[in-house]
């Protein structure tokens, strides 16, 4: 049943339908509505058999999730921005221990300067943490990705981050079909951990590994991520069969057999598609290639999808200072050996709206190869001049 619902509430209900045993919560905008909703679902008995733990920091949130998951409990938490950075040490630990924790990241900028609005700096900063990262284009996608994330995480024994744009998605009300417990039950089997803390069969988890085996441990982590590249579309197809709507895939192409192809992820894809529709009507050949999986990075699939493109624009909502876009660097790696010109466009930092007009102008310039290698969309030169005057 489709209903008009806030993104955070839809995600909370989808998570609850997955029957987590332990949910940890620490407040940070714009993630708060998700854990608030889960708290209510636990307190009112809608989500039974679940411990809701109010922790004292994000570092503790991830640590509690680690302990719970190692004990064989399905564990969930949510965070954003500084909170994700504060749990960074525990993120790498959860991935290294192979614990299938699922976490929502309500994507938000990183300070300083402090900024509560949306961009992808937070999740991108943890791209090498060993977590799978899936990006939602819409609230329906965000809701459905959580169900698939638990399945993927538990099959791969890897933690999964579901990234949804802060405020843009978390606080937006739109029609969403929220999965029911019954539907989820047919898709997500009971959690059977790879190993678990059990006094009857005691194991040592988290031993110290020296130079003689550390490389092999890391190689296996890499291989597991590569295996996930084939499991993501397979589980997406299974989801589609069970739920009657599209499941996750590595890439989301939209008229991608064009001369100019824009690679992007998250909620900006909607605006991009509208822009592309307008450009195509004007005879400008532009398409979109959405990324759902950012980690593992679907390099081969991306390279194949971009084979016919004459130029590639990567729209990043994060910045690697001194480099340019973050995803752009991954696209470069995927396009290794090709001569396709590639442009970085850094847009929408700290909640700056990315308008259809700006995208339209930028893509027309790209189509003429009249774009700088790194472009900051809608850069306010008057503001910069003022800042220089104060310098």
């Amino acid at each position: 049943m489709t209903e008009q619902i806030e993104g955070s509430k839809a995600v909370a209900r989808a998570v609850a339908a997955c029957r987590p045993r332990v949910v940890c919560a620490y407040p940070i905008s714009p993630q708060t509505h998700i854990v608030e909703s889960l708290s209510t679902l636990v307190r009112t008995g809608v989500l039974p058999g679940c411990e809701f733990v109010n922790v004292e920091s994000e570092f503790a949130a991830m640590s509690v999730a680690i302990g719970a998951s190692a004990t064989g409990a399905r564990a969930y938490t949510a965070t954003a921005s500084q909170g994700l950075l504060f749990m960074a040490e525990a993120l790498f630990n959860a991935a290294g221990l192979g614990l299938p924790i699922v976490m929502t990241v309500a994507n938000r900028a990183l300070g300083a300067p402090i900024n509560i609005w949306n961009d992808h700096s937070d999740a991108m900063s943890q791209r090498d943490s060993g977590w799978i990262q899936l990006y939602a284009e819409s609230n329906q996608a965000a809701t459905d990705l959580h169900v698939q994330a638990f399945r993927l995480a538990e099959e791969m024994s890897l933690p999964v981050m579901v990234c949804m744009d802060g405020f843009v998605l978390t606080h937006a009300c739109e029609p969403v079909e929220v999965p029911t417990v019954e539907q989820v039950g047919g898709y997500l089997p009971a959690f059977v951990p790879r190993q678990r803390l059990d006094p009857d069969a005691p194991v040592t988890i988290g031993a110290m590994v020296g130079p003689e085996a550390f490389t092999e441990v890391r190689y296996l982590a890499h291989r597991t991520h590569l295996d996930a590249l084939s499991r993501i579309p397979a589980l997406g197809e299974e989801f589609a069969r069970g739920f009657g709507r599209p499941g996750m895939s590595l890439l989301a192409p939209y008229q991608a057999d064009a001369e100019t192809v824009v690679v992007a992820l998250g909620s900006i894809l909607g605006t991009l598609k509208d822009t592309v529709d307008g450009l195509c009507a004007d005879g400008v050949s532009v398409g979109v290639l959405g990324l759902t999986a950012y980690r593992p990075f679907p390099g081969a699939a991306l390279c194949a999808a971009l084979r016919g493109a004459r130029r590639v624009v990567v729209l990043d909502r994060a910045l690697a200072p001194g480099v340019g876009g973050v995803v752009a660097a991954d696209v470069d790696t995927a396009l290794r050996g090709t001569r396709t010109p590639r442009y970085d466009v850094v847009a929408g930092l700290g909640g700056r709206p990315v308008t259809r007009a700006s995208l339209d102008a930028m893509l027309r310039a790209a189509a003429r190869d009249a774009l700088d290698p790194v472009t900051f969309l809608d850069l306010d030169t008057d503001l910069l001049a003022g800042a220089a005057g104060h310098g």
Binding site: E56, S57, A60, L197, P199, A213
Partner: protein, 333 residues
């Protein structure tokens, strides 16, 4: 050829053997029914107080819980010397995550067990003083405040020994460490306000807080058993001398732990719901110099000149402890 004389009647000693004695008076090692939470072959230094303490704590906890125990360990000596992959000394379900998060991980284990209806399985978190009173303190306080069903044990050797003896929040005044050199007008660690972790734990009003040392293993075991009789957050602070960091002889580990209590610098007591309910009395208070002198970390207080000023300030701390906990009650001196 030298002959070692075997003594069969070592009443009052802590030597191995003594099967002719009453079971309650025997050395703990002589008990054939004891559990083995941590087995031989680990890589702790000779005379390691932490290995000794952890063994008594976990063996007692195993007995108290009928073996239904999960242990969460902070990063540190105990973790490093017990689990060099592919080996492990642990015979209990054991998880190491990070340095600063052991109390929170233990909370997660307890939450999972509760959700699974397995509250018969109990949870111990453990770490050194760095992992407890410094980097893990936020998580520890959170665990206390929520009254999560976890016993957290701090093995306090009073510095970061695993990384090469740097100062921690538990390092005593005037002690020399790798980051508090024994030079200048105020050699060694500063006289701060101290970080009295057991009293801070008590201030949380949790069901049970106790201190103990490796000099009195029966007392240590009793306190673990007592702690396990409560539900909710509990804290046990165990003084574990470190020959490497303290600059003491390996054979002096137990003696130094006993001197620390007998001089008053390390009061041994129990508290319930924030109030002290029992303290182990001192028969006759020994001067702090007896405790300080065998440790090279305090050598600068005795050579090249006797620093009576500094020693006096340390003695004042010991005297204050004796007064606060009533350690020299009438009938004991």
């Amino acid at each position: 050829m030298p002959v070692n004389r075997v003594k069969f009647y070592q009443t009052g000693s802590y030597a191995v053997g003594n099967r002719l004695l009453d079971p309650r008076s025997r050395a703990v090692q002589s008990d054939p029914a004891r559990t083995n939470a941590i087995t031989t072959g680990h890589r702790a230094c000779q005379g390691c107080g932490e290995a000794l303490g952890a063994r008594y704590v976990l063996d007692a906890a195993m007995r108290a819980t009928g073996g239904k125990l999960v242990t969460v360990n902070a990063t540190g000596c105990l973790e490093v010397f017990s689990t060099p992959f592919p080996e492990s000394s642990w015979r209990v379900a054991w998880l190491h995550s990070l340095f600063g998060n052991a109390p929170a991980v233990a909370t997660g284990v307890a939450a999972a067990l509760r959700a699974q209806g397995r509250e018969d399985i109990r949870v111990i978190g453990q770490g050194g003083d760095g992992g407890t009173v410094d980097i893990g303190f936020g998580c520890l306080s959170g665990m206390f405040e929520r009254d999560d069903d976890v016993l957290f044990v701090c093995y306090d050797n009073q510095a970061y020994m695993n990384t090469g003896v740097q100062r921690s929040g538990a390092t005593p005044p005037a002690a020399r460490t790798a980051t508090t050199d024994a030079v200048g007008p105020a050699p060694g660690n500063a006289f701060g306000q101290g970080k009295d972790a057991p009293r801070i734990a008590m201030a949380h009003g949790i069901p049970y807080v106790a201190t103990a040392t490796v000099a009195d293993p029966r007392d240590l075991e009793y306190k673990v058993e007592r702690a396990m009789s409560f539900r909710g957050a509990r804290y046990l602070h165990v003084l574990v001398p470190c020959p490497l960091g303290w600059g003491s002889a390996a054979r002096d580990t137990v003696r130094l732990a006993r001197l620390a209590t007998q001089c008053g610098l390390f009061p041994v007591y129990e508290a319930e719901r924030g109030d002290v309910v029992a303290a182990t009395p001192i028969r006759a208070a020994v001067p702090v110099t007896e405790y300080l002198r065998p440790q090279r970390r305090f050598a600068h207080l005795f050579r090249p000149e006797l620093r009576t000023d500094v020693i006096g300030r340390i003695q004042a701390i010991a005297d204050a402890n004796i007064a606060r906990y009533g350690l020299l009650e009438a009938g004991h001196d």
